[in-house]
Every structure is written in structure tokens, then in C-alpha cells.
């Protein structure tokens, strides 16, 4: 899984390319935690280029949201239809801040 970053409106925008699953999740979690430890606390996760996300991926999002609670922000954008369904089934669309597009997330 390839992570690329950009800075917009004070948010760290992270693009995830590939699949967020058992194999990639541990590495992704480490990378995000390192960013948080280095005081980056406002994120937009853009999943435009993510093919699928298994529960390992959801776990990383939940852990990140819990870490940032009270000291930062996590916004989620650009879910494909399949990941949107997974968010719906798991109730994640109710506990995470989900936006249609990156622009809406940054607005």
C-alpha cells in the first residue's frame, strides 16, 4: 500500500493507494502513529485509490480516531461504493466523519 501526503488548509491529507488489509494495515498504522507522535493531529484520509478495506483496515481507522479524540481531527473522504457499504454495515459512517469528497472534508 502506497501512502502519499499533501498539506491543505492546515490538514494533512493522506492518500491510500492499494488495499487496506491484513498485510498492509500494521505498516499503515505505524506510519500514522509516527505522524501523530510528531504532532500532526488534523487529518483527511482520502480513499480515492483504495480498492478494498477489510476489518484490519477498519481497526486502524478506529484506533486512529480514538487517538485523536480531544486533541485533533480525523476526516474520511472519497469512499468507493464497496467501502461505503462496509462503513454502513459496520456503523463506521456514524462514528467517523465521512465526506463525499476531499474538498468537502477541507471546507
Amino acid at each position: 500500500m502506497q501512502l502519499t501526503y499533501s498539506e491543505k488548509n492546515g490538514y494533512k491529507v493522506v492518500h491510500f493507494e492499494g488495499s487496506l488489509d491484513t498485510v498492509t494495515s500494521p505498516e499503515v498504522e505505524k506510519t500514522i502513529n509516527a505522524l501523530i507522535d510528531a504532532d500532526t493531529v488534523k487529518f483527511v484520509f482520502n480513499f480515492d485509490k483504495t480498492r478494498y478495506m477489510s476489518s484490519s483496515g477498519l481497526r486502524v481507522l478506529l484506533a486512529t480516531a480514538k487517538k485523536l479524540k480531544g486533541k485533533g481531527e480525523l476526516k474520511i473522504s472519497n469512499l468507493n461504493e464497496m467501502i461505503e457499504e462496509v462503513f454502513d454495515i459496520s456503523g463506521f459512517n456514524q462514528i467517523l466523519n465521512v465526506y463525499k469528497t476531499e474538498e468537502e472534508a477541507l471546507a
Binding site: D21, V23, S55, K66, Q94
Partner: protein
Amino acid sequence: MNAMKRILVVDDEPLNINILVELLKDNYKMMAAKSGLQALKAARSANKPDLILLDIMMPEMDGYEVCRQLKADESTKDIPVIFVSAMSESLDETKGFDVGAIDYITKPISPKTLEARVHTHLALTQQTAALKEAHLLIQQQQQRMQNELNVARDIQLSMVPTVFPKDDAVDIYATLKPAREIGGDFYDAFMIDSESLCLCVGDVSGKGAPAALFMAMTKTLIKSYASSDFSTASILTRVNDELCEGNDENLFVTVFLAILNVHTGELRFTNAGHNYPYIIKDDKSLLTLKQKHGPIIAAMEGLVYKEDTMFLDKNDTLFLFTDGVTEAMNPEEEPYGDARLEHFLEVQDCKDVKVSVNALMQDIASYENSAHQTDDITVLSCFYSGQTVLATLSLSIEDQFENIRLLTDACDQFCEAHAISSAVNQKVNLVLDDLVNNIISYGYKDKNTAHTIDVVFKQMERELMIIIEDDAMPFNPFDREHEGVHLSLDEREIGGLGIHLVKKLMHTFQYQRKANKNIVVLTIQL
């Protein structure tokens, strides 16, 4: 003859004691106490009195207090107490009855009255004790009968399968709801070989443990004969002879037995006194299988049963049931009936066997409303899709997390090669990731030994089937309900979601343990 009853006389005046003892000593064993404390001691001794004549006015502890203490003590509360007193004011009588006395005698004592009262109360006490004992016996017997019914029900429910053969061409689901008093329904569904599916539904007459055991025997015999005999007529002919031997209880069974060739759709069947099954056609029209091939099983030795054969069309649903369905009563005692059942089958989408069977059970339950279910209700539905496998891919991986990628990559290629949509592809990837992750994370105790996980993809006309086999410790991933999808961020546990996703994303999911392997079969509609 009963041993002589003991009577305890309590009075602080020896003269009064003597009078009573003289009057009664011919017929009873007499005991005496000169104070309340002595009386209590005597009442609690090994030779308890059967009745107490108690004076009221005594120094230290009066008769009321003695009586109150006797009644408060479990070991003495059943001894009848008759107060003997010179006082005859009604106020005192009330007080005496309040503390638990059974009667009152006033001085001067009339010998006849005394004898009569003593005799009456001893007899009453004895009868009460006998009644109590009888009541206890009845309770115990009821409990024993209930236990027997529970055992019978356990036998019955443990005998019928809850995991059904999963073949490309058929989908099966069945359920049995026992009545409070067991009626002895059963069903079975198993593959005889790679192409012959055996289905049966039966109803044993009678109730309780004998019916349950007879049902177990019938089902076992059918299964055992079916393994080597492909004629339903011949199977039931042999089962009938076998069951007739030693059928002292005169039980009998109605059976519908069918063998379906899942490749050709050929259906061979025998109806032995059972109610007529239905075939629900693709266009929702109903066909009733009215052929009869012989009477009930186990009634008469030497009968020869017949059989019929026909072909199921693709998308036919074979629907078997017992009369518990149509004879389910509402509170007005009107039966559910054939017409209502037929209407239900015409309206309901019966191709999804599990959903439709459960919907029917629900419909029957709401029809019965509060009425008591008097007979077992059994339903078995088999949807014959006649689907053929269009493409198959099998692969094996070792139990390393990074190998899951080999599975998802293979799935990608398979889907692309066979024009399976990307949505299906990604759902299957997610499911593979979660299920195989679970197997590798929790399935193996011997971390140093390599294990193989086998995965098969089968593309059929309308669905994609995924079969995952592993040799990990027995574990049914679908056993647990995931709770907490509606919890807030703070309340949510990290983890436990994967299986919930699998259940929601797949059309069907099944687990079975077979020959030291966990086998998970999933389907998703194309």
C-alpha cells in the same frame, strides 16, 4: 394398627395433669410437662408428642407463648395444640387461635368432649400428612415425566441436521419446531454420493420418549439403507420390515423419501402415508405430488412400496412438510390449512430457502398467536437451481499473513478472466482477508508447524462460491453474534468486526467440521 399416639399434657398444677392423664391413658401414651420450658423441650425431643393439651395460665411462660414458639419451629409446627383453660371469655379464644392453636377446651372438662376432640384432631393431622405426601409424590412424578419429555426432545433435535449439503445445483434448508409434548417429527438431507441427494421428512405417531426413540431408529435405518440402495421404494420396503419387528408400542411413521440426482434433476420418490409435498415452479405455479406408494411404515410387515420418478426443472423448489404445518390451530381452533400454505408458497420467493422457510415458520407462529402448539412442525425446502459450474480455481497457501495476498491476487485474476464485477471481486477479497486472517491468528496452537489453507473459487450461472478449508482447531466463525455496531466511538472495541462483515456481504455462509477440517462455504450473487 398404628402405634399408640402420644399426648403431652402441660399444666403447672399436678392435679390438673392427673385428671387429663386418667381420662386418656387407656388409649394414648401420656407425657407431662409442668412448665412452658419443659413443654418445649418435650415437643422437640426424639419422642415427639402427636398432640399437646396446653394450659394457658402458667407462671414464667404462659400457654400463648409456648404455642407461639411451637408454631415458629419447623420441627414442632405441625403438632396440633389444644388449649385447656378455666377461662371462657371469647377474647382469650381469639388470642389462642391467633397463636396457632387448633381447638379450645374449657374446664370443667367433660370426658366425652375431651376424647372426641382429641380423636378428631389426631385423625385430621394424620390425613393432612397423608395428603401432603401424596402431593409431593405427584409433583415428583410430574417432574419425572417432564424430564422424560425433555430427554425425548433432546434426542429428537440432536438427530436432525442443522448443516445442509451445499451443492452447486441445490440449496437446502429445514427446520423442526417441537410441540411441548413430543410428536416425533424428523427430517434428513444428505449426499449419498457426489450426485445423489437424499431428502426425507417423517412423522412418528405417539408422543414422548417411545416416539422419539422410534423416530431415531427410523431415520437411522433410512440413512443406512440409502447408502447402498438407490431405490426409494426398496429402501422403505426394507425399513418397514425392520421396524415391524418388535414394534410392541404399535407406533407407526409417515414418510416422504426422495433421491435427487443433482446433475440431471431426476427425482425418485416414495410417499408412505405422508401428506403431499409441493413443487414450486419458476413461474410460481404449484404442483402437488399426489402419488401414493403405500401405507404408513411400521404397521404391517411384508408390504412392498412403490416409487415414481420425474425430472425437476431448473429453478424448481421441492417443498416437504409434516401435518403440523397445516394443522396448526389459531385460538379459535381453526387450522392453518392447505389453502393458506399454498397461498404463502405462491406469494413468497421460495428460491431463498432459508429466508422462505423461516418466513413460513413466522407466519404459522403468528397465526397460532397464543394458541398452544399441539404437534411438531417440520418444513424442508430444496431449491434446485440446476446450475452448472462455469469455471473453477483452486489454490493452497501456507499459514502466513503475507500469503493472504496470494489469495486476493488470485481472486482478482479469476474475476477479471470471467467478467465478474469489481464490486463482487472486492467483497470476496475483504472476506478472504478477514476469514483467513482469523484462521492464521487463532486457529493453530503449534506455531512452528506449517499448515495449508485451501481455497476454491467456483463461478456458477448466478453465483460465485468460495470454499475455504483448513486443518486448524474446530472453530465455527459464524457462531458468535457481533454486537456493538451501533456503539459510539468510545464504546467501540477495536476488533471483532470481520465476521460481521462476512455475514453481511455474502449471500450465504455455512460452516461445517468434517474429517479434522473446518470447511466454510460462502456464496455471493453475481
